[in-house]
Amino acid sequence: MIEVKGLTKYYGEHAAISDLDFSISSGEVIGFLGLNGAGKSTTLKVLGCVLLPTAGVVTVDGIDIARDPHEVRRRIGFLPDTPPLYNEMTVGRYLAFVAQLRGVPAGETAQAVAEAERKTATTEKHDELIASLSHGYRQRVGVAQALVHRPKLLILDEPTSGLDPVQIVEMRSMIRALRGAHTILLSSHILSEISQTCDRLLVIQNGKIVAQGTEQELARDMGGGGTIEVEVLGTAARAIEIARSVEGVGVARVLSESDGVATLSFAAGPDLRPRLARALVQNGVDLLRIDRGAARLESIFLQLTKDKDTRLPSGGLQ
């Protein structure tokens, strides 16, 4: 669906993105993950044909965006980081305007609008002024405008930005429901959103793709054999002493220890949970929880974006 080769975009002397290579197949839901200023929005604007690349080749559905941006735009629905809404219009009129602008025949406009409203649960807001909508509904109408012309590719830049937790869950399930009908590329710096919504991740840092793959693939690449997390009643020292007797269990790390409960992490090879659990219980340790502590997305992300020139903004990760 999308082929990107050597994509570079300069703003003056500054390279916002540099030599990006990736491809996306039809029907995939791809998460574009990176810190603020990493180059996510610039990449999405180039893919959305809003900006032209300084160098490189991007094809969408086999069409080069530099040669025939018009044709590419027909196949794309783009939601920028701020939904492009006209406050003085009603939702229905606005969606009809966008549909016609993007080539939906006049006779099919009403049906296309109704379909977009149904998919985004905005049908009851059809006759309301956009100015009167809540932030959550504005974001939904933003998604509706992106899919009203039934594009093959949906590009959503930070679709959950500024939403409250309930609205985030609703938006997430809405995006999941769109899976199959569209290829979806969404960006975010919210890790949970990416991990729960996307099939595959592209991690961007300082304008370069630093990793790509499924969460498991990234975990395997970054985390090696993984870890086992254990929660026990009693002291951490006692649990560590017992765990050391189990063959294959490596370095132990105390994650927390308070109120008589200790949480530990053990470097472990293949899944040693049954043996470790058995050893702890047989030696009289009350086991409260044992779990795979394989590298989670957050730690993968932190490792990938670890850079001496980059400081993580507070609140940038959730």
């Binding site: 703003y11 604007k45 959305g48 044909c49 809003v50 900006l51 032209l52 300084t54 018009h70 044709e71 735009r73 027909r74 794309i76 783009f78 920028p80 701020t82 492009p84 809404l85 006209y86 003085e88 219009m89 305007f97 966008v98 016609q100 602008l101 993007r102 080539g103 405008q145």
Partner: protein, 241 residues
């Protein structure tokens, strides 16, 4: 063409649904009326044609100034509020966006201009002026408005905010108006060039007097084309940034 008309219709709707549109229309009509009463109807007795000519002179000045405020929102406001990306990510050419925006402003200005027709109508009823004089004056106002709005559209394409757009457009308009002064203090051929490109001094008075010259019509249409062409180029250049 379909996209141009869609954009023009939406934009015109935005003028008619916004307070700014009505404030501009009310101010234009009020200033036209007050200035007409204060500067044209006062003083010694005049011929009806002189009174009508005086009205068009005032209306021409007000049209130029109001075009700055009518056009300032066209592209700058969309950029300011982030809605321009809706148009630039749609299968619409930059020229269609620019022309659609311009057309909406032109229609809005034409609506205001038509609303001033009561003044010439009063002169027509109470005095002795030809219908042709009135028609020529209004054709001139529309052409002057069209050229001024095209310059304003360029200013709006260049600016990031509406205030900056008004400043850019105002400066370009002022430069075009005062060109005739440069024509007086420079040698030929520069004096001829400055006199020719002056927005007002050489090209509008014939319309005021009820005459339509092809060269004046061509000048205003050429300026309109140039303004819109430059605005389109600015839009295209912004995709490269």
């Amino acid at each position: 063409m379909r996209s141009t008309l869609l954009i023009a219709r939406r934009e015109l709707g935005a003028y008619l649904r916004s307070m700014t549109g009505y404030v501009i229309a009310a101010l234009v009509l009020a200033i036209d009326g007050v200035f007409f009463q204060a500067f044209v109807m006062s003083g010694a007795d005049k011929l009806s044609s002189q009174v009508l000519s005086g009205f068009f002179e005032i209306a021409g000045g007000v049209t130029m100034v109001s075009s700055v405020f009518i056009s300032m929102r066209l592209l700058a406001e969309e950029r300011q509020t982030g809605t321009l990306v809706l148009l630039t990510s749609s299968p619409v050419r930059d020229s269609e966006i620019v022309v659609g925006k311009f057309l909406s402003a032109l229609v809005f200005m034409a609506m205001i201009t038509v609303a001033t027709v009561y003044i010439p109508a009063l002169i027509f009823v109470n005095g002795k002026v030809s219908f042709g004089h009135m028609a020529a004056g209004y054709v001139g106002l529309l052409l002057l408005g069209s050229a001024s709005l095209a310059v304003g559209t360029l200013g709006s394409a260049l600016a990031r905010t509406q205030v900056l757009a008004a400043i850019f457009s105002g400066c370009m308009m002022a430069a075009l108006v005062v060109c005739w002064m440069l024509g007086r203090v420079t040698e030929r051929p520069f004096s001829d060039v400055f006199a020719t490109i002056a927005l007002w001094q050489k090209h509008f008075p014939p319309f005021q007097a009820g005459q339509i010259h092809l060269r004046d019509v061509f000048f205003y249409l050429a300026l309109t084309y140039l303004g819109l062409f430059a605005a389109t180029r600015v839009m295209e250049a912004r995709r490269w940034r």
